[in-house]
Symmetry: C4
Subunit: 378 residues, 4 copies
């Protein structure tokens, strides 16, 4: 299988991450770009992920004695330059030949948490090395075979990885129609799981998902927590009952996400679910949020809605495609700069201030939205 | 009258039923396609039928110990591969030369209930034969003459048909402007009723409807129930008073429908009415739902809103047009596959689980919708 | 001033009144058509007039024992073929050379009330003659000079006119920007008021309005009622206080209207106001409704919301332009036919049934709407 | 730096201020026009500023005995021809070579308050002279150095300026992406602050903002009020807590604004905030409102929502570009004429009547809106 994607490394000239998406489409092969950018079914949920941030408004508070607000935050002992972290994204080599090595370097230079996917196209040791001491988390697509799971956890622990993220919202692959239209199969290998599972070059996303465990249950959370001794974040809860089920099973944190609108179409926007999850969690454990982040104001709104960390997916991969490690770093920097600007105008000096900030409910709908159809994905 | 439509038989390559509609437009003659695809008046209700599924959201529940969910269901003693059944649709020969013989074969192979229309273009015995033992229901456009009605019921019973569906929302034809623009008249015969009524080739939809009984009342339900001894489903109730009127008259089930937006424009979306009807029925009798089903998530949402069976109209006819019996089967299979995927991601193992699933109210509107105008119907 | 418009007389081939508008644009000169079709300011209120009918839904009731519903109604002793009447519209000669003579003949043949405008382009006696005994109402743009007003009332009474409609929502002309863009001035005379007022050929709409009385007050209603001895309908109230003010002054009826969105932009849709006005009137006097009627379902919804009569404006004028008296009649017939169809499907046998019908509130917005911009008016 | 913009002076032919914007785009250089017309981020807040006026409706009251309504108003002892005043806008020489001298002459001829910006491109004495006795207010971008602030206040007092407006919502510049795309830097000087601060030709908006004080606090309001002895309006409060903070610090008035959508995107429409601010202020001090005014009905709605004065920004600058002082005057006149028309139709004789007018809540959304994208700003 002959696959050639971007090998860019260096600064990227862009105004916002919507630009970046259009620019990335030009350097990533069509099938790979469709896989990254698109979502499930009618992409209703994907669109709502972005539009839903308008459901809450930031009132710009005045005379607040604020100057040069800081996004620095300490999470679980790690000093981060920002609560903005990298979400687990499969197969970075779709976007850049250097794959996770480059994105890890960029994230490390920005100074935040890197979540490596089970379906990384670079093996664990090389990513850990590229991270150069920055905190690393591991996203787990759980195997049906606990022997394999133990082996992976052993390897993860060897790298000094600090937390495990169990993806619970993707026990099968979503209805990704753009991939079907493009006959997309992975043109790259996935070394972390590939030694046990028949994934990698030539395999479809459906095939890859099916090789993982469908029948996830609270016992799997218990197993990982016990065997690894690491904090386990359950990724996927969007309702109180899911929060309770995860915490009761020993989850150290809740990761609110709808997988970027890639899994169940016709479900709620992740940001809307965050409102409910925050109430349900009620400060028992930390909350990580992803799905739909495209602006500094989105990060602000997620933090003010209960998130402790906010994770970035597609935009980071676009930065990787266009500028390798430096492009990745720039995307984080740009969104963080937008966040700082919002913090100044909202009258918040610190991330703690943001988390205590009261958003205003929006009683009105807007016609302003994101239009994925602009991209002509197939 | 010279009418030539598709004679396709065999597998169809499609991603979703919206595709299928566009593909079907190329093989069905313009007037016939307009008759099938369009709706009444401004098509407000037709559009809302599809958009309204966004009024309820499926929260994807996690760690639910679900694997390979099953859509199998038993209804009134019949084992079905899915609660998805065929809605009564007139004149299948508009879409495929083989008409109801082909659709019956496809539905039978899929393994669900086939509802034959009074305005079938194939006579009862041939359809029953093609169904090969699969459960068959009969949709009744009631005659003004009870002699004829008795005769039809006699014939229906001869076929071993298991239930009668009395269409109560179409005592006259809706304001189908596309048909008027295309000067559409039926180019095919309707043998079930044609021996008594002047319908068939060269007759307009208005004419056909007028030959049936306008003045339907609870007494007609009583008559059919008594004379036939079969369960009678009243098709059309969208409000509590209609539910009560039908059940009081002896209806064995309520079929919630607005006739696919083809009858009264400016009325509610059928899915919105389903919420009210479910409460009104309160488990006294089973509920069948149609109007707007285009996705597995729609079937899921209808079941979770109180429907026991969900009926498919236009998409099945598009499959028939493009692939005969196999195309019909594929459409059911495709939507059922989508349903299974939703079930897995929603954390529901069985149809019973789906029916007990709690949807989340959507407090926000979306701009994402279905645009009939794309089709240029006249 | 050389003005040439349609002189059509005879049957028109059309499917609905939206078609008719586009067809009329081809036979009415640009400035005149802009004057007729357009509205005030951003045309927000004009659009909402039509969209707002979606705020209430007609549930199609079933098994209601209805056949051939009748729109016949008796109003104030007059037997009408329908509660659909003609709204006062200025200057019919803009649309057809025969002007009010032709529209009066058409309305009379349909069999309903004709409301002649003060700014009629045909004088009272000719219109009354063309009406051939059909009920005639007179719309009054009140003069600053009560001598003139008395004279007009005298002439009105001479014709046997049955009621006077005092327009209270147009004490000055609205901000009609299309007229400004087209430099529109009236190319026709207005004989009823012209003998006293400097209106007619070469005068702008603003000029015409200013020649009438601005400072309307309850006293003017009292004056007309007393001097004429005729029932006075006040046209314009959209709120409880306006209803009370008018009835207290002796109004025999309330005419809910926002002048077809031609006067105050940024105000409520007339149909939304009708809900409030009905409650306020509380059956003390009859209610007439206009503004936004384009469909039989709109008439149904207005009647079910408290209107006793429903008046038609622009569509009647388009029929006049395209087919003279016969075109006018056809438009009434077409909308009435749509109404009858809705009545059958809604399960209502008589207009009284419609008035007792309970609409369902719509909790959802729709993206389906009317787009005036399609017409390119300047 | 070679910068050439319009030098127009004289009457402008336009229908409304949306026209004016498109016309102005043709005479103002691209970068400067982008700076004036555009907003922050996704321009959500900018769009909502205009759309939000539809959230309240003006019911046109009838029989109100109104004629020739007057917009005259007395504010703080000054007789104004209208409550419509000039908002502070930076750098009028971007739009017209004569800059603030021309706009001041126009505003003076119209007869209302002129608010001069700290970033005026004409120095204080020339503007005061051009105002020819009309009331002048000074908008203050506060310096980090109180020596400078005292000096500026001294100069302001020398001119007989009547009030100081402290901009509190722009402690840094908003995320103006159009400026970034156009690499916009100021091509003009800013004499009022330039003698102390490194602003003016060749400097970006970000640079200019950063030269002002970020760390604004209630103490700054106290300082200005005490040192100047003038009434201080705090510009920016959109919530109760901000209102209280400003009034407690000695603010003489609250200026509700979101800086025309140029600062914090994702915040509320200014008109929506006005509703909350009015309640919070509860008549303790006067309220000025800006952001989104494009129509007479907007002015009416703002006044009826609690504003005592309504300020105009972009449209005034477009008038300046197209017609110098006369163009500026015309824009005020046009909007005031629209306001008078609305007053007549709403049944309000005086500005006091407007302020006591009860708007109707709009329970429905509209698709009618303003589309900035039409302008192609980069």
């Amino acid at each position: 299988m002959d696959f050639k994607t971007s090998n860019a490394e260096g600064p990227v000239d862009f105004i916002n991450v919507f630009d970046l998406e259009k620019m990335a489409q030009k350097v990533i092969p069509k099938g790979a770009f469709g896989y990254i950018a698109s979502g499930a079914g009618d992409t209703y949920t994907l669109h709502e992920n972005i539009r839903s941030f308008n459901h809450k408004l930031i009132v710009p508070h005045t005379l607040m004695n604020v100057e040069n607000p800081s996004t620095k935050t300490v999470f679980d002992g790690d000093e981060l330059s920002s609560p903005l972290i990298l979400a687990p994204v499969a197969a970075h080599k779709l976007a850049n030949e250097k794959g996770e090595v480059a994105s890890a370097k960029g994230v490390s230079e920005f100074g935040t948490i890197y979540t490596i996917s089970s379906y990384s196209t670079v093996d664990l040791p090389e990513v850990t090395q590229a991270l150069n001491g920055s905190p690393e988390w591991f996203q787990f697509y759980f195997s049906k075979d606990n022997g394999i799971n133990r082996h992976i956890i052993d390897r993860v622990k060897e790298q000094g990885i600090k937390a495990i993220v169990l993806t619970a919202d993707a026990t099968v692959g979503g209805n990704r129609e753009v991939d079907a239209r493009n006959n997309f199969v992975f043109p790259v290998n996935m070394p972390i799981v590939q030694e046990y599972l028949p994934v990698g070059v030539g395999k479809s996303m459906d095939y890859v998902y099916k090789s993982a465990k469908q029948k996830l249950s609270p016992k799997d959370v218990e197993f990982i927590a016990e065997y690894s001794g690491l904090p386990v974040y359950v990724k996927g809860p969007q309702a109180k009952e899911d929060v309770d089920r995860a915490i009761d099973a020993g989850a150290a944190g809740i990761w609110v996400s709808n997988h970027g609108g890639r899994q169940l179409d016709g479900g709620p926007a992740a940001f809307d679910s965050l409102q409910e999850v925050s109430k349900a969690v009620n400060h028992r454990v930390p909350i990580v949020f992803d799905s739909g982040i495209r602006r500094g104001q989105h990060i602000f709104k997620a933090l003010a809605s209960g998130a402790d960390l906010v994770a970035l997916g597609r935009p980071a991969i676009y930065g990787l495609a266009l500028g390798g490690s430096e492009g990745t770093r720039q995307v984080f920097e740009k969104l963080n700069e937008e966040l700082r600007l919002v913090m100044q105008l909202a009258g918040t000096q610190t991330i703690e201030d943001v988390k205590n900030y009261q958003l205003r409910d929006n009683h009105y709908e807007s016609s302003v939205g994101y239009d994925l159809n602009d991209l002509k994905l197939f």
